[in-house]
């Protein structure tokens, strides 16, 4: 792979220069740094880069957490206790400068009641995010434009962008797009796990309904273009991706998807899609979901432990409530002792390498899907995102490349989307 070849060349060059230096400056060769020292130096260099570049995560379902009574974003939570993956202290610990909080609304029935309730829930979550930002204005700020993230970073604050995951809350009223824009929403994921009125899902068991984006969905895409809202195709079927490329006047984004060339999964993007995305000027944001990053591993010890427990228990229908509770506890203990191994940071950066090789360095970014199932070994929550940078440095990515991956690419797309909106609004006014 190109990146690794680059690393090898750099290493050889360093060895050659090192040899020259030892001949001219001293007769005694300096001792080779130990592996530990070399690793510490690499980590130190990676952390400096991580600190200098804008780090932006384009997808977190944290707004759902924010409607949990008593949940406080200003408090640090233990992800292994609460399941929570993002709060402001952990964003700071991980050096995560910016994040898109997506208000996720599960797909319900597509009638007037369902749509109006979806809208109410979407607005409730958006308002919860805005209230949280206001209550923690010393630590975070609402970001509406690409430059806001850089300005907030300079001010020592985290940038919070708003988004909507699933176009369901738009209903069949395109004017709602402007309502959400005015609330601060800067991308909308057209569809989620099942088809909606706008588009087909990659994962609806009933299969396609519109063969891509519906006529209403096309109107919504046009309105998003007019306002400067990024069109997110994650969760959409392959046809939705191609329709979005065709329909959108601005580059598109996949806020949390990986490479199908490495892991066969409907939610991941094929090589052809990655190439088309590059031609479009868009970006795919790598997500930290184990099942999208690697094939499921074998778990013989875990399987044996569960089999042994099952063999020693009587049928559930014959148990008392206490006996059933005891078995559930025992099963939880097995889960804790023999967990299914999560994907690793190396798996994740394999996808970055792959996407770079297919689409180029300008078309990949990071959208962890924290609080929506995302979290792998080494990037389990927001406090650990620096490990992605460390692995990229280990593989020879330069600071300029890392800056693109961590935020530069998505902010370029965001600027392009806004520029198109400005043009469209000028045309409209003329």
């Amino acid at each position: 792979m190109l990146i690794r070849q680059t690393v090898s060349i750099v290493c050889l060059l360093a060895l050659f220069l090192g040899a020259c230096s030892s001949e001219t400056e001293t007769e005694v060769a300096a001792p080779e740094p130990s592996a530990e020292d070399a690793e510490a130096a690499l980590i130190a260099r990676a952390m400096e880069i991580h600190d200098r570049v804008l780090t932006a995560d384009t997808h977190a379902d944290t707004p759902l957490r924010m409607i949990e009574p008593g949940f406080d974003m200003a408090e640090r939570h233990d992800p292994n206790e609460s399941g929570s993956k993002v709060d402001y202290p952990r964003m700071k610990e991980g050096g995560l400068d910016a994040i898109f909080f997506a208000a996720f609304v599960a797909q319900g029935i597509r009638d007037d009641d369902g749509k109006s309730r979806a809208k109410a829930l979407g607005l409730q979550m958006i308002d919860a995010v805005r209230d949280s930002i206001e209550a923690n204005s010393d630590a975070v700020g609402l970001a509406l434009n690409p430059d806001d993230a850089y300005e907030l970073e300079k001010a020592g604050k985290r940038a919070i962008y708003l988004a909507i995951e699933n176009g369901y809350p738009i209903g069949d009223d395109v004017s709602n797009v402007e309502l959400y824009f005015d609330k601060g929403v800067r991308y909308i994921t057209l569809v989620h796990a099942t088809n909606n009125d706008l588009a087909d899902s990659a994962t609806d068991p009933k299969g396609p309904e519109h063969d891509g984006i519906s006529p209403l969905g096309a109107e919504v895409v046009a309105e998003m273009n007019r306002l400067g809202i990024m069109v997110d195709v994650s969760h959409g079927s392959d046809e939705v991706f191609y329709d979005a490329i065709e329909m959108s006047k601005a580059p598109i984004i996949a806020t949390h998807s990986n490479a199908r060339g490495l892991v066969e999964h409907k939610r991941n993007m094929t090589d052809d899609m990655l190439k088309k995305l590059a031609e479009n000027g868009g970006v795919v944001q790598l997500t930290m979901l184990s099942d999208y990053l690697r094939d499921k591993p074998e778990t013989p010890e875990r399987d044996a432990a569960f089999a042994e427990l099952s063999a020693s228990t009587k049928p559930a229908a014959e148990m008392t409530l206490e006996e059933r509770a005891a078995v559930r506890k025992a099963r939880m203990e097995i889960n804790e002792k023999y967990p299914v191994a999560l994907a690793t940071v190396s798996d994740a950066v394999d996808h970055i390498d792959y996407i770079v090789s297919v689409a180029g360095i300008d078309h990949v970014g990071i959208g962890c899907d924290f609080d929506g199932g995302g979290g792998i070994d080494g990037v389990f929550d927001a406090s650990e995102v620096m490990n992605i940078t460390i692995e990229m440095v280990r593989r020879g990515y330069t600071e300029e490349q890392i800056a693109k991956i961590w935020g530069g690419n998505v902010m370029r797309v965001f600027r392009d989307v806004q520029a198109v909106a400005t043009e469209l609004q000028a045309e409209e006014a003329a």
Binding site: E68, F71, G108, G114, Q124, A193, A202, R328, G373
Partner: protein, 174 residues
């Protein structure tokens, strides 16, 4: 919305985790919906749970076919086990009084690991409804990261909240 309509709504309510479709649910999630109107005088409660999680909780095997929910040969003890589990981890109190939840209907939807069991309860409730206390800690005894989203629609007012291990109960006032 009529209770029947609500049932239809919940049948279509996508339970899939945010990520969806894979070898396991990346996020442990349940959805529930509570609805009441003075006009209908009926409190309708619907739960939508991953069938794999229900099996894990009731018979300790996510892949078990023992209970056969919603099939002609459903195990005679299936509903008893389900209610005994729910009584431990889920309740509703209206105006301070516990609601005796009786199953009105059950239905399966989805495919593979994403099959969901929808359970609908009904309770006659005279107005006014001034407070609603909800406990939803289902599966928090199995999964540390279980999240239970509750949609509440009372007399046209929509409120939603998330409950889990840290916050299993919450009271809403109207």
């Amino acid at each position: 919305m009529s209770p029947r309509r609500l049932g239809q709504c919940l049948l279509l309510l996508a339970l899939w985790s945010f990520a969806s479709v894979g070898s396991a649910h990346p996020l442990r999630l349940s959805l529930s919906q509570i609805e009441y109107s003075d006009e209908q005088q009926t409190l309708t409660v619907s739960l939508r749970l991953f069938l794999m999680d229900v099996r894990e909780a009731l018979v300790f095997d996510p892949d078990s076919t023992e209970l056969k929910f919603c099939q002609a040969d459903e195990a005679e003890y299936a509903e008893r086990l389900l209610l005994e589990y729910l009584n431990e981890f889920f309740y509703i109190r209206v105006n301070g009084n516990p609601v005796d939840l009786k199953i009105k209907s059950k239905q399966l939807s989805g495919e593979g690991i994403n099959v969901a069991l929808a359970i609908e309860f009904e309770h006659r409730q005279a107005p006014p409804l001034t407070s609603l206390e909800i406990k939803n800690a289902v599966f928090t005894d199995l999964f540390f990261d279980q999240s239970n989203v509750v949609y509440v629609h009372i007399n046209g007012e929509d409120r939603s909240l998330m409950l889990g291990k840290d916050t299993p109960t919450h009271e809403l006032r109207f």
